[in-house]
Amino acid sequence: MLAKLSPFFGRHYVSTGRMIGSTPVADAINRKLEAYFQPIHVEVLNESYMHNVPKGSETHFKVLVVSQKFEKLPLIQCHRLVNEVLSEELKNGVHALSIVAKTPDKWDTTFMTEKSPACRGGFGK
């Protein structure tokens, strides 16, 4: 179920197929990204439904973070920073993390995150 909380800044989408509130991993990811990056915009998308995992899983995520903290950093460093902030989740169940990291000057409200590539079966993990 897609929960669109606000059309303006600070909106985030949490799509898990469950009721809002029973998404502990997505909630933790959102909380940590907000706390560390103080972003002007963040999106946390649960893409587990696109993969060969049980319904309701929280194993595959895409995150969009728009923050000043990425200023002057090479792309790989931006991604490493996000990996570091979410290291606990990555060690404990999050299997794939797609990252879109932008500085405020490179982002506008019309930007739409693209869907990640379709699953090709994987190995159940």
């Binding site: 792309l75 990996n83 990555l90 797609s98 990640s116 090709r120 994987g122």
Partner: protein, 146 residues
Amino acid sequence: MFKVARSIYQSVSHKSVLFYSTENSAVQGKLKELVNKNKVVVFMKGVPEQPMCGFSNAVCQILRMHGAPYEAHNVLEDESIRQGIKEYSDWPTIPQIYIGGEFVGGCDIMIQMHQSGDLIEELEKVGIKSKLVEEEGDTNKEKETK
């Protein structure tokens, strides 16, 4: 009796730790060799002819578009490689792309580098001319002759 049991346990667990760290160093050493063996090296799920993951497939497609030859390693065949490469690059996910022995990133970074043109530059640094540059050149020539 307890002291004897404890000393046996300690010597065995100490040896287990030593064994693990010796084996781990061997894997890290092997990975260092692999990433430097070819200009472009990809650690992926599945093989280029049949990737087992959408992200790995995307990387293969991009490299194919550029006509860049690369060596692929299927992490699903070897758990020590699958975990070892994450430790080697300090990067938690697969696929992983190495150009000129340097870790470049995963699927997201490859897509962005491809879109921005940075990938063409990175490939050129290791002596690989992207097919896309040649095609652009041909298109420009056609326009000039017309």
